[in-house]
Symmetry: C2
Subunit: 166 residues, 2 copies
């Protein structure tokens, strides 16, 4: 195969249009989880992230994404969800509910707000009631639940797979 | 929509056969990254993970996966890769190289060893030369590289998407 060699930190792929996905984090307990989500979102070309509560970005974890993502912070989640809905975003929660859809078969709309929940509590039921769809990531073994930053990374992967050019 | 309610920690999906995927971690700097990979692999129903070097599992992070995954540890990576190749595994590295394939279009073989690299160095070139294929996850923005546990989670997601029943 000739010589195979590293090409780390390749130039990124081009997007035909800015990403229409907004990531919305319910109040998270952990600055680490928020910061990991910011790093992943940055790599995915996402430019807008909304964080509720007091979790703060650690730039050692989020890296350059900390400077390139517009982070909005708010005190409470319900009015944020209402506003995004009024702005025309499809409101999609990442959670396990009685009516959650398998993300493997879920066709994302381009203009989507992905709402992720607290590490322990997930998304509260008053929020679930406001969302258009709930998607879940299949689980096959213990501990039966993905870390919130891991689950968000998988959901962002799936969205980007469906919209490789934005 | 009636009442939408949580169903957290749903029973896992069934696999028609045990997962044929083995995760192989080059020497990692961080116990946290290894432990995160173990948790994610456990959720994906993977039962065999090989770790090179001295990184140790933190059960607070890996949760129950720490007890349900068979972890093999070895001192060096090359003989492990050779042995897995002889056992008939397709050897797939997760890396950016001159010939890496976009994971979005990569059809995994069921019997695959997914080899992931060190946080800083990635996979060394003597290992790259031994592998059948290299897959990369597209990147669209800064910091232009996913954390190793995040990238592994995305690759496991893609494998499981292709083999939802094992």
């Amino acid at each position: 195969m000739g010589e195979r060699h590293h090409q780390r930190h390749k130039p990124p792929r081009a997007l035909a249009a800015p990403r229409n996905l907004v990531v919305v984090c319910a109040p998270l307990r952990s600055n680490i989880n928020l910061s990991r989500i910011v790093r992943t979102a940055g790599c995915c070309g996402i430019t807008r992230l909304i964080s509720i509560g007091t979790a703060r970005i650690d730039p050692k974890i989020a890296r350059d994404a900390a400077e390139h993502i517009t982070l909005e912070t708010h005190r409470t989640l319900p009015p944020v969800v209402d506003r995004l809905g009024a702005e025309g975003y499809r409101l999609v929660g990442l959670e396990q509910t009685n009516d959650s859809k398998n993300i493997h078969q879920y066709p994302f709309e381009s203009k989507t707000a992905l709402v992720v929940g607290n590490e322990r509590l997930g998304l509260e039921e008053d929020i679930l009631a406001k969302l258009d769809d709930i998607v879940e990531i299949p689980v096959w073994g213990l501990p039966f639940s993905y870390n919130v930053a891991t689950a968000t990374a998988m959901a962002l992967y799936e969205y980007c797979r469906q919209f490789p050019e934005g």
